[in-house]
Point group: C2
Chain length 195, copies 2
């Protein structure tokens, strides 16, 4: 159980613990990370830790959910006001690559969750895919994109972003996110067919 | 060091060890898997094991390289004789989903390798991306596909397949691989633009 605090102070402490957990799990990995290490990083007493999380695994699950929320929120923010769906695809890829550069630990944490807390791993991608599928269905119904399977397209496009984030966000952070997103956005908009 | 055997019998034993390792690492994960468990599964004496691999980690690295080779070989086989590049994209996605259903352990093994043997993980995707980039460059030079960044497209298309394999190969193996590949192939060929 993840005890959501009611007071502002409690919420701030929970935030501190999640941020510390992102650093600890992101750099040391699940097996090496420790609750006491996270409490020290956060500047929170160990006794107090347990009023927020029941232990390492529940904290890790909460962290995956939190990062999942943060990345979707970040992209959503960057796309606010964009009505052209194809433009939104391009900007979404760019926003994702930029997020990865700010929070590179997202890869290690999300990828490791499939071994440690598979439910959280699935929840992350399912939430992403549901929102994406919904957005594509809307755009398709309005004739802003072509006909096709919303769900298959959603998973395909998520995979695209995850791998571009890995390649150009994590492994080659000096690459221009804008250029990568332009090339990928063109693929998403017009495909490989000769023009 | 991975000692490649010279005799037929030696090669057959090495093959048995790699197949047993795929089952052991794929079902138990790296931490829980043991050299003795793998030797028993393969029906190979433990003393003999060490004439093939120096230990658990070198064996795991060899296994990732082996699975990487197998999946590329499988797709390459399925595409032999296909000259239409867009048709090859569709068939490649289908072949990948089908491979995942035959060898679902590929996900656990490749994904876990990023924590255990990151060099093998990168080698797997780099090899894939290099071959893909090369193929796209050829098709582009011949005018069989449109102009665009071969490398960005290669990583985008690999991510697409990996996620479709996860969603429809691993999580929903009863879905029609052909239909998924048709929907995704259409996206790759023509994009989302209204027609």
């Amino acid at each position: 159980m993840d005890r959501e605090p009611r007071t502002k102070k409690g919420q701030a402490t929970r935030r501190k613990l999640l941020d510390a957990a992102a650093v600890e799990f992101g750099t040391r990995g699940y097996a090496e990370a420790s609750v006491s290490g996270i409490a020290i990083r956060a500047g929170v007493a160990l006794g107090s830790f347990y009023t927020y999380f029941e232990g390492k695994e529940p904290l890790f699950r909460a962290l995956v959910d939190d990062m999942s929320h943060q990345v979707r929120h970040h992209i959503h923010d960057r796309l606010s006001g964009v009505t052209d769906r194809l433009e939104a695809e391009r900007l979404g890829i760019q926003a994702y690559i930029e997020f990865v550069r700010q929070r590179p630990e997202i890869y290690r944490i999300v990828e490791e969750s499939q071994f440690v807390a598979e439910d959280a791993y699935r929840r992350h991608y399912d939430a992403f895919a549901q929102a994406y599928t919904h957005g594509l269905a809307h755009a398709r119904a309005d004739g802003r994109i072509s006909e096709g399977s919303d769900e298959v397209r959603a998973w395909a496009l998520i995979g695209m972003s995850v791998f571009l984030g890995l390649r150009y966000g994590l492994w080659q952070p000096e690459a221009s996110a804008e250029e990568v997103a332009r090339a990928a956005g063109d693929l998403v908009a017009r495909g490989l067919s000769p023009r």
